[in-house]
């Protein structure tokens, strides 16, 4: 069985296999090269391309124009376009300093208080699966790290099973499953004609996938499109997944951030769990608690028996240990403190509603500007209908490049803009740029 890392560089390894018989000669050549000509053994390593999302911020930093606007990475900005640390987070950190916590290793599965809090936030404190010990929760390194643990678990325990991922999706999903050695395919999702959900296409692709496949679903605020299924559509998706014996793997990176309500944003996951379906869920506190750089999240497996859940937990630990041994304590303690204190929890909810509210406000202003400036009658209402931090503008690569090159607006090449990086003052400028790029660039 090929190791996960080997899967990543298939062509390079094929080449190595082909020259396998010449290994001795290669060894001598290496030796001769390194000692006589001072050539590096890493000479063949090529320059990797910049990350399509994180690379945008790097490019933005280098731009010296006053007009520049960063709508690349999904990190919340205030109306003054400043990064924000939530007040409740500052409070928690001061509290932690005062209580003089130590810095001992967490257990491999992470901080117990955090794991309890995160499962309850996701499923509801009175959830039956939690009460029956059927939820295995491991603290993970934010959404990415939690997805990676889930992916590695799938590679080991569902070998050969394909994971179906929406088209489009967050770019890093593919990298994660590739590096974990898990095969993936796309299911149809976004319809550029309606700038909405291609529900028929999605259902057909779920139906056509072999029984027992794994479906990666965005719990809410789909990234990059902002297009979410309606409750009725979620019901039908759940019906079909159940019928096909697929397993749902939810990516929940925006709970509370999408609508402003933690419970509402978890409704898709809770719907599945209520039906008794087994699911995997990756969570992130990067956006909803603004803990981006602390890397705090969790992987949850909701399982049909407590016994199996305990075993799954033990195997998830076994995956984490050779990756990083145990997770970082700081972010976990912040979450546990905030969620564990009723007053701080309420304050958190208020700040979260404020963030979600500001984004809805800029959506409205952007829509107003686009509608008033664009006399063609094009329907820009998708800006209002899309949910969460991002908007899929429908701009193609060339048009997105125009946004950057002509207007100094930084976004990802798939046409995604982060509304979290927009303020009311810049809506008009952005509207001008979008209209110019949409109509004047092919």
């Amino acid at each position: 069985m090929a190791s996960p890392a080997a899967c990543r560089n298939v062509s390079a390894r094929l080449l190595k296999a082909l020259v396998g018989r010449q290994e001795a000669r290669l060894g001598n050549a290496l030796k001769a090269m390194s000692t006589t000509t001072n050539v590096s053994r890493f000479e063949q390593v090529t320059m990797a391309p910049a990350d399509p999302i994180l690379g945008v911020s790097e490019a933005f930093k280098r731009d010296e124009s006053e007009k520049k606007l960063n709508l690349g990475v999904g990190a919340y900005r205030t109306e003054d376009l400043q990064p924000m640390v939530l007040e409740v987070v500052k409070k928690a950190e001061r509290k932690m300093l005062e209580s003089g916590e130590n810095k001992e290793y967490l257990p491999i599965e992470g901080l117990a208080a955090f794991n309890k809090a995160t499962a309850e936030l996701l499923l509801g404190a009175d959830n039956a699966a939690i009460k029956e010990n059927r939820v295995a929760t491991i603290q993970g390194l934010s959404g990415t790290g939690s997805l990676r643990l889930g992916a590695a678990f799938i590679q080991r325990y569902f070998p050969g099973t394909t994971v179906y991922i929406s088209n489009p999706t967050w770019g890093n999903h593919m990298n994660i499953f590739n590096d974990a050695g898990v095969p993936w395919k796309h299911y149809r999702y976004f319809d550029p004609k309606t700038v909405g959900l291609d529900f028929e296409g999605m259902m057909a692709d779920i139906e056509n996938a072999p029984d027992g496949s794994i479906m990666l679903l965005h719990g809410c605020a789909h990234n990059p499109t902002g297009v979410d299924p309606t409750p009725e559509q979620w019901e039908k998706i759940a019906d079909l997944i159940e019928k096909k014996n697929h397993m749902a793997f939810f990516d929940v990176a925006y709970q509370g951030f999408a609508s402003g309500s933690l419970d509402q944003d978890a409704s898709s996951v809770r719907r599945f769990v209520e039906r008794g379906m087994e699911v995997l869920v990756a969570q992130s506190y990067s956006k909803n608690l603004g803990l981006y750089a602390e890397r705090i999240g969790a992987i949850n497996a909701v399982v049909s028996s407590a016994d199996a859940a305990a075993r799954v937990r033990s195997q998830l630990k076994r995956i984490a240990r050779p990756m990083y041994s145990n997770p970082p304590c700081h972010g976990a303690r912040i979450v546990a403190n905030v969620v564990g204190d009723a007053k701080m929890f309420d304050e958190w909810r208020a700040e979260m509603q404020e963030m979600a509210g500001r984004i809805k406000t800029v959506r409205q202003r952007l829509f107003d500007e686009l509608s008033s400036k664009d006399k063609s009658g094009k329907d820009w209402s998708f800006v209002l209908k899309q949910i969460g931090m991002f908007s899929f503008t429908g701009l193609n690569k060339a048009q997105s490049d125009n946004m950057t090159n002509k207007w100094h607006i930084y976004m990802t090449k798939d046409g995604r803009i982060s509304l979290a990086g927009l303020n009311l003052a810049k809506c008009e400028y952005l509207a001008d740029a979008i209209i110019d790029s949409y109509y004047n660039v092919q």
């Binding site: 890392a5 001072n38 003089g100 290793y105 750089a293 700081h330």
Partner: protein, 448 residues
Amino acid sequence: MAGTFMSAQVRRIATLAAHFRVPSVAATGERRLQAFATMANTSVFENVQQAPEDPILGVTVAYNKDPSPSKLNLGVGAYRTEEGKPLVLDVVKRAEQQLVAEKSRNKEYQAITGNQQFNKLSARLILGPDSPAIAKNCVATVQALSGTGALRIGAEFLAAHYAKPQIFLPMPTWGNHNKIFPLGGVSQKPYRYYDPKTRGLDYEGMLEDLKAAPDGAVILLHACAHNPTGVDPTEEQWEGIRKVIRSKNQLPFFDCAYQGFASGSLDKDAYAVRSFVADGGECLISQSFAKNMGLYGERVGALNIVCRSAPVASRVDSQLKLVIRPMYSSPPVHGAAIAAAILEDGNLFKNWTVELKGMADRIISMRHQLYDALQERGTPGDWDHVLKQIGMFTFTGLNKSQVEFMTREYHIYMTSDGRISMAGLSSRTVPHLADAMHAAVVGAKSKV
């Protein structure tokens, strides 16, 4: 509804096929199994077995469960004070207070390779402030999740980019090495290291095995304070090792988890690494600040790849990002910010070296106390190794059944290979440990 009743026969065949790794049959069987599972209301995770506890971290789990008041945790290598308490260094508290109070600080995503200031200072710490490799920009450094994370990234990088991804590990080595490398895509083989007869280094055996290893193989070296044995090569021996490795064009991968903790001196503990880098050759170096800065749970570390040229280092750096991004996107900010603050500020750095020496000295004093206690009891055997071994651990030489005896009768928690963490001892608890070791050794003798 699709799916028919699947016979137990089909299920057995599917399970067997999965064991023999017959993909198509296994996959079909798997799917049918899953269909069957749902019909019978069992879990798709039904085949998942209970994993055993981690042999090292599991010791703490077992210790926590023990109600005995005389229990002693000598398992995981986490420093304890004379009072048996975990320690947060004074400089860490000060740095943390500064950080939390800083108004300009935010929690934005770090770069994929982490805190750049931390990376620079971390490289400088291990390679020395005058390192030509650093001056020539030949070092690619990425912030990592402590030592484990750095090793894992290094392994995945080598699996993807190195012509010969096979690593040689000393026998014995830290247990987690044996999992990190295969999972990262690098196969592993042992080389002789510890000589149980002398309780020292099997220098000849080591050189023989290195010479027999293929040209270009990766060689894992513990930079100082070998874990679990505490046996380090002398400077002359390091020279001999270096010559063989360079003559075979092998690639050293240093695991440096105890810089400053072994001897009390940061520079002295960096000797081996610096001597290798000085000859102009390439190497990988994983660093951990878990022990020397007491930042265990913050997961602070770095991976350095020393390359022959700056352009290579730059390309290597870009490829390391491709390993990190699908693993956790970017590393955690808090611990590295604390470490950077300490490394950067002359005052904090100086105070750190004092606290570090204090920890190293206390461990050395525990070695003396344990040695003396065993002498007092007339415990049979030669116990010089308790004094000679370096760093946090002592490889006692006790066997598995003796260890089990000590846990059962004396509530001493340690790893079954006979390793004890000296950092977990105090003047108060040394007598209890000495009693336990004495009883274990004498008990074994009387059984023979």
